[in-house]
Amino acid sequence: MPIVLLRIDERLIHGQVVIGWGNHVRPDRYVVVDDELASSEWEQDLYRLGAGGAEVLFVTVAEAREGLTEWRAVPTRSILLTRDVATMRRLAEGGLLEGESVNVGGVHHRADRDELLTYVHMTDAERRDLEAIAAEGAQVAARDLPDAHRVSLSSLLGSRWKSSS
């Protein structure tokens, strides 16, 4: 239970995560997995403002893959965040997230994305990455807030989606 939420959310540490999910899962720590942010101190300072006093770690994917075992073992309750699907897929490679639930939060409108839900927009590559995360043994579902309807991966992608397309 020490990793209390694994979430893909472009906005990372923001109101829905800190207030909505934070009051539900009561984290002690946020772990932001992002190769770029891990080396950008001024951007880290911005995101730390939103953490409400909780500890915030910024780590690369490689560091996160090494840290997962420890974060699961300690009593400290962590929310682990990536701001894109590809980063979560890289984290999941080799079955590292097997048995975990991966929450899809905000992935917003962009010209090359299709709207799947009001808060989830995906390119074909991102849809394939979600399938890859599921193929690694994680349960992938969309839900912006804890009391919102949980949308399974199959429902999210829809019956017309073919990964080979």
């Binding site: 906005r11 540490i13 109101g15 911005l46 403002l49 917003h108 409108h109 962009r110």
Partner: protein, 131 residues
């Protein structure tokens, strides 16, 4: 009002908050409220929100008013104003500070920011509490 350069005000917030505040200012202050622009984070990812703020702030001096310091709006405002002269971010926006802003937006930036922060802060008080 003087002929000095007026500082633009941009209000950015969650959902309809910014639009509601700007609408309230215009209803109370009339034409003076024209110097305010509302930006919502609704449906926007970080890049889109930053682009919307960049477009709203333009090139001149501007104050970006944010509902929450932390989170998507505060972070986008900080990005938009970073490394640009004549920019300020004010967090915890409320109606009294915006009303003060639109009537004093010809003041120098630092003086204006200090003034509106104090106005917004002083407007928060408990009234008629009956336990």
């Amino acid at each position: 009002m003087s002929d000095a350069v007026r500082i633009r005000g941009i209000v950015v917030g969650h959902g309809d908050m910014a639009r509601g505040l700007v609408d309230a200012v215009r209803r109370i202050a009339g034409e003076a409220g024209a110097g305010l622009t509302a930006v919502s984070n609704e449906g926007k990812g970080p890049d889109a929100l930053r682009a919307a703020l960049d477009a709203a702030t333009g090139e001149g001096p501007a104050v970006v008013f944010v509902d929450l310091e932390s989170g998507s709006c505060g972070i986008a405002a900080s990005y938009a104003c970073r490394a640009k002269e004549g920019r300020a971010v004010v967090c915890g926006v409320n109606l009294p500070m915006l009303l003060d802003f639109v009537f004093h937006s010809d003041l120098p930036l630092e003086e204006l920011v200090a003034r509106v922060v104090e106005r917004g802060r002083s407007a928060i008080r408990a009234a008629a509490v009956r336990g």
